[in-house]
Symmetry: C2
Subunit: 262 residues, 2 copies
């Protein structure tokens, strides 16, 4: 079983991509909706939460873990990799690799939560990946609440996106990393506001490509993963609102099971 | 010592009011910043969190508890009152009383988080308080993130406030309850958008008035409260952002101590 977790429901963009590319693989998702969002919290708190989230998935039989949350990937990946024996995937390295492949003018923009941007992880990895890369970052803390409110196409969301992207647009970035699993839902309004020719990198798509490649390279691990097209959804807080958003995103009936994190 | 808690930093509006009206009373504040916000979560989760929050304050010597959070007041007050022996104050009843005093056209508006509005507590108490009252409610889930982002006076915040208030304005409410301790920070932009003649009821002001009256009526309890103008601030997650907002709101240096809720 493939275990996937997020601070809330943003990681369902990874689930959707996984079900598109690897529909037979059984998966278990955990959204820490009782403590969401992570992006405005401290590193210490996020690491503690991520360890608990991964443990919940392992207790339910996950054989690999995908951290479907940029914030947790940014600050907790190393700790999870050391602590757990199963393969752990994060959403940042695959997005960095893709951005470096795509860039032509060597000017790359990154948007994410406050915690992700403050970690400077994208900037560090992009500059390690290739010399002479210029990185321009912007924290966009209101985009997660806007997506969770379902305001995907309102005038207010468009104005706020424009405001957040303005500094990156003036820097003429050629590639923009959507450094939060919620942001692919805003792709249609981000694209015209950053510029039509700017390449958008979707971390949900990239982590699934990386995972597919890993399975090809590691047939023994692939063989251990059950493939009966089952999906199980866990959340630390279950409300009608989360249920509705999950069903809308995945375009199907979703049964959320409440699990306690404490 | 007076214990005050909130899901995060909104309850500091109650602290500010308390320090204005009762500057000598020692107080201890706890903001559950590691699990904020509460307003989008389920009743069960909020009750559990509120019990833990109050316990933290009691362990530190609080002799009375003020729930400085409308969401927790709406769904957890009864449980706290039963469980703990100290006097417990909540922010809803005082605001209801004030709104009933002020109303002339018997049309009262209420804005709050999704959890507060879904609880229907304001509507229930207003209608119990007086017959023939009409209540119009609107959940405003983006206002807390906007306040926490510090966007108190931006064009985007004004537009979003206008959008949320529009249905109440068309109902010609004469009085509007600010049913969230974050909202007093937006008073200046709320007033012109709901109408200049509409009375705004600030739950932070009202709960402190109620508490003052209680102390007059209960001199024995008043005598037990220490009065050395001390204030202690605890939070479950401490970040520069929270620190800045707290110092800006209270107009003084604030030392936040991190305490673990788990």
């Amino acid at each position: 079983m493939v275990g996937i977790f997020d601070s809330g429901i943003g990681g369902l963009t990874v689930v959707r991509e996984l079900q598109k590319k690897l529909p037979k693989y059984d998966l278990i998702y955990f959204g820490d909706t009782a403590r969401t969002p992570y992006g405005t919290k401290s590193k210490e708190t996020i690491v503690k939460y991520a360890l608990e989230d991964a443990q919940i998935l392992l207790n339910r039989g996950a054989k690999v873990i995908i951290i479907a949350c940029n914030t947790a990937s940014a600050v907790a990946y190393e700790t999870l990799k050391e602590k757990f024996k199963v393969p752990v995937f994060e959403v940042i390295t695959p997005a960095v690799r893709r951005a470096l492949e795509l860039t032509q003018n060597k000017r790359i923009g990154v948007i994410g939560t406050t915690a992700t941007i403050n970690s400077s992880i994208y900037e560090k990895l992009l500059k390690e990946g290739r010399e002479k890369i210029e990185v321009f970052s912007a924290a966009c803390p209101l985009l997660v609440p806007l997506v969770e409110e379902g305001w995907l196409d309102t005038r207010e969301t468009k104005m706020i996106v424009k405001k957040y992207l303005h500094p990156l647009r003036t820097k003429s970035v050629g590639t923009l990393i959507l450094g939060c699993t919620h942001y692919p839902l805003l792709k249609k309004i981000i694209q015209p506001r950053i510029g039509k020719r700017v390449n958008l990198v979707d971390s949900a798509e990239e982590v699934v490509k990386e995972f597919q490649q890993f399975l090809k390279d590691n047939p023994k691990i692939d063989a251990e993963l059950s493939k009966t097209s089952q999906a199980k959804y866990l959340a630390s807080d279950v409300s009608a609102r989360f249920q509705n958003i999950a069903e809308k995103w995945l375009s199907k009936k979703v049964e959320l099971e409440r699990v306690d994190v404490l």
